[in-house]
């Protein structure tokens, strides 16, 4: 390229006060390849831009350097002007002689010399710039939501209400997640199911939502706007189209003594079951591991009693392929299982608490089921060991949370509030009972939260003991809690009827494998990582994938719902256009020279690098090379700095451009 125009801006007096702009223009004119130079008072003004356009036309300019302010200020302005003048916008560069020169130096000669250098560097760069075209990516306006808890449901409903198609995938036989298991919710104590179940029904009735329950993500390919998702629908053994949800099969199933995991194994369910009465969809599933038919080939009662003939023992897993443009991950949390340390786990267990061996030591979610009106006890608080009403209950906070020595250092955020709620629910049901709470700090930042917490102490008479618990053991029919009260500096022992542990919130089992399928990153605890902790809290670094709820970090319901709606809004923003346009600053592989060592793939923070097979016409493999998916590439260029043969180049920042700048010194 040999016809470059250099336009030197005075910026009023901002530049010209310390930089001799005429001299800069004159010196630039001497550079090889510069066909035109001028200086002007305000290049960014309309007349300034017109000047540029006119010069392009008159002098047949092929490249433009505007020596003015920072490109962060006006690069877009001048690139648009260049485009209007018929020059590819990426052949227009700015030389920053204001922020980096005139404003920071006083000596006119030195500043002028530096400005000339800066312009020279940019001229050399522009000579090697390539015409780039913006990359457009078509957008499939259909969203995939992974997880049917409150987060997934909220996102699904928001997106569906905006008129876009949604596919909701849930691992369990019913949507609802943890919120469906809760009794009442803080800080208002309204019944969780009463506010949750209508939303669940909305999902199943929504014309824009396709619901896959009892299903898991098998594989995800593609990139923003264009994901192909394989969903494995596990064999339900019941034909959803035929089933009316009458429930006769469940009533007649002879196998009735299977612990119900929805009730934290406090109650029982049959082998053909729905997890809870308000399940959505209300279609039963056969638990093949426990079903007599599947174990022995005999029984078949459910099939015989099913009027519509919906029970189908021959059903197999089915793979459904969905094309979607965006993914919302809402896989939620699980409670830290605090038994002895599992082999290979980085997180220590709490064997000394006897959880799992002392029946009257339970976790918070079990207490929710005890307190729930639709739970296994009909809302009566009883001890699992003997069904007696506990007269003293000890609640222990921060079990696993904020316990660096045990391997988890974060705060689980919801335990202070739900423990306060538990003491209230307990007091409401057992009037002569006494609740004790061992706590480290009470963290109650939320609307109405602190008031709620104080109520549990002041009105419901829960005794809060600041200190930790060291050991629990069974003594007769009591559970002895050995702990400390750090306020008065003594060791305390309480003989309790029931102990409730507020165990840490952890990401769902398998969160890491799902992340690997999606190509998103996660922290050492397997919580998914957002793109920016402050400014992009619902987006993944991988474009087109968004986060909602506790899969990203411990969250209460209001926060989860907010994030879910925010994620939905991000999806809708993406779906507002038919095509996605992005800056063409992406890496490209020179397939001729690439030797396929894939060092680029190892360093790519976006997972944009794939393997590509190069074959000859008869299909024989010639070699394997790297391929950068331009839809996914973020444009950092780490691949190029890593590539030993420089067979991958970042457009807009090629080695040639940069070397030219360095050599122009």
């Amino acid at each position: 390229m040999s016809r470059i125009g250099v336009f030197v801006c005075h910026c009023g007096e901002n530049i010209s006060r310390t930089v001799d702009v005429e001299k800069v223009a004159a010196e630039a004119g001497r550079l090889f390849g510069v066909a035109y130079t001028c200086d002007y008072k305000y290049m960014c003004s309309d007349p300034g831009q017109n000047l540029l356009k006119k010069a392009v036309a008159e002098h047949k300019l092929e490249g433009i350097v505007v020596a003015a302010c920072s490109p962060r200020m006006h690069e877009k302005t001048f690139r648009n002007a260049a485009k209007a003048a018929g020059v590819n916008p990426f052949l227009c560069e700015m030389a920053n002689i204001r922020e980096h020169c005139s404003w920071v130096h006083e000596d006119r000669d030195e500043a002028t010399a530096k400005a000339i250098d800066i312009v020279t560097m940019m001229v050399e760069r522009v000579k090697r710039n390539k015409k780039l075209q913006p990359i457009t990516v078509p957008v499939t306006k259909k969203a995939l939501i992974i997880g049917g808890g409150i987060a997934g449901i909220q996102s699904a409903l928001d997106i569906a209400d905006s008129g876009h198609q949604v596919v909701l995938v849930e691992r369990e036989p019913s949507i609802g997640g943890h919120m469906a298991q809760l009794s009442e919710t803080f800080p208002t104590l309204d019944c969780s199911q009463c506010i949750m179940t209508p939303k669940m029904v909305d999902v199943v009735n929504h014309p824009n939502i396709t619901l896959h329950t009892y299903a898991e993500i098998e594989a995800v390919e593609g990139y923003i706007g264009n994901f192909q998702v394989k969903v494995r629908k596990k064999a339900r053994s019941v034909d959803m189209a035929k089933c009316t949800g009458c429930g006769v099969c469940m009533a007649k199933c002879p196998q009735k003594k299977i612990p119900n995991s929805f009730d934290k194994n406090l109650g029982f369910r049959p082998a053909i079951y729905v997890p809870f009465p308000q399940a959505v969809p209300n279609t039963p599933v056969i638990d093949r591991e426990n079903c007599t038919w599947f174990k022995t080939g005999k029984c078949g009662v459910c099939q015989k009693v099913c009027g519509p003939g919906a029970v189908d023992y021959t059903q197999e897993d089915e793979i459904v392929v969905e094309q979607v443009g965006a993914v919302v991950v809402a896989t939620g949390f699980q409670l830290y299982d605090i038994g002895p340390k599992p082999a290979g786990s980085a997180i220590e267990g709490y064997g000394e608490f006897g959880y799992g061996t002392i029946p009257d030591v339970i976790d918070g979610l079990t207490f929710e089921r005890l307190a729930s009106a639709s739970g296994p006890t009909g809302g009566k608080i009883v001890r699992p060991s003997d069904g007696a009403e506990p007269k003293s209950v000890v609640f222990v906070q921060c079990v696993g949370s904020r316990a660096r020595e045990k391997g988890i250092s974060y705060c689980s955020k919801i335990c202070c509030m739900y423990t306060a709620k538990h003491t209230m629910l307990y007091k409401h049901k057992v009037h002569d009972g006494q609740a004790y709470v061992f706590f480290m700090d009470a963290r109650t930042p939320g609307k109405g939260y602190d008031e709620f917490w104080r109520r549990s102490i002041e009105e419901e008479e829960a005794v809060y003991i600041r200190g930790m618990v060291s050991r629990l053991y069974q003594k007769g029919d009591k559970v002895v809690v050995m702990g400390s009260d750090v306020h008065i500096g003594v060791q305390v022992e309480i003989e309790a009827d029931l102990v409730v542990l507020a165990t840490a919130v952890q990401p769902r089992e398998g969160a890491d494998t799902l992340a690997q399928k999606l190509g998103i990153s996660y922290d050492k605890y397997h919580f998914y990582s957002e793109a920016h902790a402050k400014l992009r809290p619902v987006e993944c670094a991988t474009a087109g994938i968004y986060l909602a709820g506790a899969c990203q970090g411990p969250k209460d319901i209001p926060d989860t719902v907010s994030q879910a709606s925010a994620a939905a809004a991000k999806v809708m923003t993406l779906f507002a256009r038919n095509e996605l346009e992005r800056e063409p600053i992406v890496a490209k592989v020179n397939e001729r020279f690439c030797v396929g060592c894939l060092a680029c793939r190892k360093v790519c923070p976006y997972g944009a690098v794939e393997e590509k097979e190069i074959r000859d016409r008869s299909g024989n493999l010639i070699k394997v090379v790297a391929y950068v998916n331009p839809g996914v590439c973020g444009g950092c260029g780490t691949c190029q700095a890593t590539c030993p043969s420089k067979s991958v180049e970042l457009d807009g920042y090629t080695d040639e451009q940069i070397m030219a700048m360095i050599e122009a010194l």
Binding site: R592, F593, V595, C597, K602, V603, K646, S647, M659
Partner: protein
Amino acid sequence: MNKTARKYESAALADEGYWTSVSQAIRQEAVRLLEQGAVAGVVGYIAGRRTGTAMPVVAATPDQAKELIFSPACVNNLALYLTKAKKEVRAKGKLAIVAKGCDLRALAGLLGESQLKREDVYIIGIACAGVYGAHADRSQPLCDATIARKCRECTVREPTDTDLVAGTLPALPALEPLEAQELARLEAMTPQERWAFWKEHFSRCIRCLACRQICPFCFCEQCLCDRNRPQSVETTPRPAGNTAWHIVRAMHLAGRCGGCAECERVCPMDIPLNLLNRKMAKELKELYDYEAGLTPQEKGPLTEYKEDDDESFIK
């Protein structure tokens, strides 16, 4: 370099039986593989025309395989023959390869860098007592005076992750770590002295690029240093370009080099190139606890990171 100050022992490090038994084990396995058609060729060594020499060969028939040997003259890193740089070898099909610890480290690197699939290669590992140094008097047996510098400090004599191990290692005496001493000597110098040291060496470089051609890790089809748009490294053999070439080379091998020191062996100008590689390996071990080993590693020290990596040098 005080080459004269020290008296070297000339007692053989391993008896003749060791070399014969390794050679036999290789031959036997190579013949078996070729007869069964399990591989298309065996990359190994045969005796050279002159005594005390050996050269790499791809044995394609059982008869050729009967010629295979292992001796202190088997200096070449055979992993080179499985790289893309040697397309004609790879084109033959599945190959077996005779591999000393050095070669194994290179193979592990090639596996880690997707240049090779483990199932495509049958590895005959050698329990290796060492090989001759570049200027060894080959009329002598392998001994303190003739063993290569790298072998004096070898940590990979016993192969692992191979399909077969040929030979058993004789008991070897500890040898003086000359290279480590030389490295320590350089590290103790002032920057000016080191610059002078390398300047003298690099100035003599004739840019024959033998160091590149022999290196199993220089498998790029187009070397960065041959490029001229942009020209990152001057191609003419002048001191400036030479220095740049050797710096770039060391940097490109950092975290990958298997330490076979072939670059140094083939250098016609006797530039101590392996010192650069050793230094980088040492630093990466200290910084990131990374060591090139016999097992392929998913990522090298410069293609991964930890959030709490050292940054004491950054303000």
